[in-house]
């Protein structure tokens, strides 16, 4: 049981980081960013290139991924999403645009980084083995701690910084925030860049554990959407809760249900359908948006 809990916490921490960026973009701009998984993959490939190709320290790879994805996110918001939102009142316009961006990023990633699975050397060697009750490699522990630190840092930023307060105001009521003098365009761009940066950082963190390949984008987006549906779309604490709940469900399911075949995600999806039928806004979301 101890091992199941530890696996769940580790999975939850990495899932929560992935979900944070997605929910941030949704809360600020009402955009369902279907390209979030592709941004995660791009972040992983950038860290891989910096570390394995240019032989620079891992931290440089992480920072490069964060900066590159933040720039890409800002450019996407400024030149694609902002004009579309200004011209079209239909929500599906931004959804289609996001899907298009996902396909585009997939194609670009294939062209630049190729079709192969990529990975970087282990950051720390060794395995924590507590009498075979808990077995956890040190690099996973480090990545788990980094992910939790990132989540904590993000919460502090959103709570106490000027930009964070402005983005929270924007998320609560766009019109009211504008009337109170918040530069909506500026903070929308910062928010989108921050969301993309979180996806890139998550990719950079996990490339040291899981590696990265072209096909990870779509499934990552699906899992991220599941997390924010559980926690409540557009709610930061909901995304974190959703990440940890999904991680724990996956860990428990894969162990307890192993003898019944691969039904863990079947059970998770069925549970999610029942849950959403009862509470469509998720755990922490509001029914009115």
């Amino acid at each position: 049981m101890e091992q199941i809990v530890v696996n769940g916490l580790y999975l939850g921490a990495q899932y929560a980081v992935i979900a944070l960026g997605l929910t941030l973009i949704f809360s600020l701009m009402n955009v369902l960013n279907f390209a979030h998984g592709q941004m995660y993959v791009l972040g992983g490939f950038i860290t891989y290139t910096v570390v394995s190709q240019f032989h620079l320290p891992y931290i440089v790879g992480l920072v490069t991924s964060a900066v590159a994805l933040a720039v890409i996110g800002a450019l996407l918001e400024r030149f694609l999403f902002r004009p579309v939102i200004a011209r079209s009142k239909r929500e599906e316009s931004t959804m289609l645009l996001a899907a298009g961006v996902a396909f585009f990023l997939d194609a670009v990633t294939l062209l630049i980084f190729g079709e192969k699975q990529r990975g970087i050397p282990k950051i720390i060697n060794g395995v924590l083995n507590w009498n075979f009750i808990i077995v956890m490699p040190y690099d996973r522990i480090l990545i788990g701690v980094l992910a939790i630190a990132l989540i904590a840092g993000f919460i502090v930023f959103m709570q106490f910084s000027r930009s964070g307060r402005a983005m929270r105001a924007l998320a609560q009521d766009r019109m009211a925030a504008q009337l109170m003098g918040v530069d909506v365009d500026r903070y929308s761009m910062i928010g989108f860049a921050l969301g993309a940066m979180l996806a890139g950082l998550a990719g950079g963190l996990l490339v040291s554990i899981t590696g990265v390949n072209l096909g990870m984008g779509g499934p990552t987006s699906i899992k991220a959407f599941m997390m924010i549906m559980i926690g409540g779309a557009g709610v930061i604490s909901g995304a974190i809760a959703g990440g940890f709940i999904l991680g724990m469900m996956e860990s428990v399911g894969l162990t307890v249900l192993a003898s019944y075949g691969d039904i863990t995600y079947l059970v998770i999806f069925a549970s999610l359908m029942v849950f959403l039928a009862i509470r469509p806004q998720g755990m922490m979301g509001k029914p009115w948006g």
Binding site: Q3, I4, N7, Y10, L11, S52, D106, A107, L110, G114, E115, K116, Q117, R118, G119, I120, P121, K122, V127, N129, F132, V135, P137, L206, I209, T210, G211, N213, L214, G215, M216, G218, P219, T220, K223, E250, S251, L254, T255, A258, S259, Y260, G261, D262, T264, Y265
Partner: protein, 395 residues
């Protein structure tokens, strides 16, 4: 003005390139060979190594002046279609090949795609070379599909027998992705292990294709303490992570698979933890690679920046098609002649040292010659490269 100038320059460069390409091969008639398979999405690696192998070989042939078939010398053109691992698109791809008048197609890469294209191929006189294992594709009344590799129900018995005799394994556990190909390979592996008298201690555990953390997946499997852990039909993307998780959980036994893997991917993803990993490969290890194989690897690397070890087996399909056409040039437009030639075809294997031969096999498994004879080379990974463990022959 600058944009207009840039566009003009780009357009002129494109036209010039096309003109030069056309002029280079203008003298020869063109022989189109098709590819229908997956070159995007999660399984892109499988089809991409196929396409690149074909394009590499075609370039080598075209650069040498073309392929002489009968009294004509042809420029080889590879026509590709990405089916995105979707059977509906596989059908669309095969229909496109038919519209282009192509009679020989490599692919699809997976079971359901290969099954889906069968009616289209049969109605349009197309011989296709799938990388899919269902026997129904190759036994009569089916006759247009030719298995492009060694099936796991052929390689598994050879590998397990070797490990039983040489390494003394007694118990085996299987883990597979929850997809048709890996699951059917797992079932074949379980059958083969039992037939050899090995005890199968776990075979129920499967995982989602998009799994990124294999620790929870492997925990129940490794509790059974198998001598051999078989990663059935494992994709190159998942293999290093599975190996790494198993070793980090303290597993000391052998790990093997019956699919082809890439040494660099294993090295990057698992490093020294992948040492001793057994997989099926082709003919690029130094012990058995011919000069032609080395030239192929060099050309591939030059064209695409990096070689993919999966291409060790995927180089063969186009070679077989062209060599069979050379043996009976009428077959270029007549697949009945091609089928007749398959029964007696034999040619030197240019990719292996020694007197190895190319021929069609499959009488034992399918009752007719509907498989290309690819050497069953079993490799063991060590410090970033593959060493040959054993070489066997399949029929």
């Amino acid at each position: 003005m600058k944009i207009r100038s840039l566009l003009t320059t780009t357009a002129m460069a494109a036209v010039t390139s096309l003109a030069l390409f056309g002029a280079a091969y203008a003298a020869n008639p063109v022989l189109k060979i098709g590819f229908v398979g997956v070159t995007s999405g999660p399984a892109a690696a499988w089809g991409t190594s196929n396409v690149r192998s074909m394009q590499t070989l075609a370039k080598m042939i075209n650069d040498a002046g073309g392929e002489k078939i009968g009294d004509k010398t042809y420029t080889i053109q590879i026509v590709t279609f990405d089916d995105q691992k979707d059977p509906k698109l596989s059908i669309a791809g095969m229909e496109k090949m038919a519209q282009e008048g192509i009679h020989y197609v490599v692919g699809p890469n997976v079971d359901d795609g290969a099954a889906a294209v069968r009616p289209v191929a049969e109605q349009n006189n197309i011989i296709y070379f799938p990388y899919a294992f269902p026997k129904s594709l190759y036994v009569k009344p089916a006759s247009n599909a030719v298995l492009g590799m060694v099936a796991n129900y052929q390689s598994a018995p050879a590998i397990y027998k070797y490990l039983k005799e040489k390494k003394g394994i007694k118990t085996v556990a299987f883990v597979a992705a929850n997809e048709s190909d890996p699951l059917s390979q797992r079932d074949g592996g379980v059958e083969a292990a039992k037939a050899l008298g090995l005890k199968v201690v776990s075979s129920d555990v499967t995982y989602q294709v998009d799994t990124t953390d294999f620790t929870p997946v492997l925990l129940p499997v490794l509790k059974t303490q198998p001598d051999l852990l078989v990663l059935s039909g494992v994709a190159p993307a998942a293999a290093p992570q599975l190996i790494r998780s198993a070793r980090e959980l303290g597993y000391k036994g052998l790990i093997s698979t019956e699919t082809a893997q890439d040494a660099k991917v294993l090295q990057e993803g698992a490093g020294k933890l992948a040492n001793g990993f057994i997989s099926v490969g082709g003919a690029s290890t130094p012990e058995i690679a011919s000069d032609q194989m080395k030239k192929f690897v060099a050309t591939y690397t030059k064209m695409f920046g990096e070689y993919n070890d999966e291409s060790n087996t995927k180089v063969y399909a186009l070679e077989y098609i062209l060599d069979t056409l050379k043996a009976d040039p009428v077959a270029i437009n007549d697949i009945k002649s091609f089928k007749a030639e398959m029964d007696k075809f034999t040619a030197p294997n240019p990719y292996m040292k020694g007197n190895e031969k190319l021929s069609y096999v499959g009488m034992t498994s399918f009752g007719q010659k509907r498989q290309i004879s690819v050497p069953l080379v079993v490799n063991v990974f060590k410090d970033g490269k593959f060493d040959t463990l054993l070489v066997a022959r399949v029929d």
